[in-house]
Symmetry: C2
Subunit: 133 residues, 2 copies
DNA sequence: TGAAATAGGACTACACCAGTCGTATTTAAG
DNA sequence: CTTAAATACGACTGGTGTAGTCCTATTTCA
């Protein structure tokens, strides 16, 4: 509960890696071997990060990935959002249609939890990749 | 991902309810009907909160639950810890043995994530039940 | 043309979550 | 002393999500 997924961890490690080599082109093979990450899983993560415009892909031989933005313009929140494909939310009513929650109308804690939600978003958005290189 | 469990939500609603009626004895039936929470699930949650000394149980007819502490001495963090039965942690290395994570030694993000973890703990610990009544 | 690399779908194994059911125990009230 | 109301608690199920593997297609450099 309240754990980040492995995919997010792998994504952060990979993006941090590329930043740490001054944005030189890096391959899935290279990263997965260096950090002991399963290659197939990392490959899918990189594809998502590419679709989310956080990194750019270079296909074909001698290809790989580079950052698509400056490292101080990529937050942990960005990585989470792109990989999960949805807004981060600590309850159903913050990620899906509020009415989808069966107790929504009787719920007495949605306001205080909304405050917590807001604070969490701030924590994740504040940390940029540039700080963790 | 990063969602609170329903059990935690139910626990918060229940504790808030008891606080809102000035700590008068409240039953599972009463709470589950008022907030449309499945009674059996709530019952187990209440038992955990009792074992965790956040509330006190009164067995037998006319029994029920009351708070075991002042409502400004119960935080959202307390409820999470007691119900989940383990420390809240955004990664494996913050909840289990750090070495249980297969990439622990090569992990380059555990320090920055530790900082985030610390901030999250602060957010959840800061909000007390007394604020949400 | 071949090798190295990304792109992406299908599938499996496993764990966790939410909820249900059944039964035992405790205690107030008549 | 019996009954009803309430907590205590274990077993079980169905659904969902996660992590990982496998296979194939496509792109591009040398």
């Amino acid at each position: 509960m309240l754990k980040l997924s492995k995919k997010v961890e792998y994504g952060l490690i990979a993006i941090r890696h590329i930043a740490s080599v001054n944005n030189q082109i890096s391959t899935v093979k290279e990263i997965s071997e260096k950090y002991l990450i399963p290659g197939d899983v990392l490959a899918k993560v990189m594809q998502k990060l590419t679709k989310g415009k956080l990194i750019a892909s270079h296909q074909g031989a001698m290809g790989g990935y580079t950052l698509a933005r400056r490292s101080d313009e990529i937050s942990v929140m960005d990585v989470i959002s792109v990989i999960e494909g949805s807004q981060m939310g600590i309850t159903q009513c913050f990620t899906e249609e509020p009415q989808s929650c069966s107790i929504y109308l009787n719920c007495t804690i949605k306001n205080p939890l909304g405050k917590i939600q807001h604070n969490l978003e701030h924590v994740f958005s504040s940390m940029k990749v540039s700080e963790i290189v």
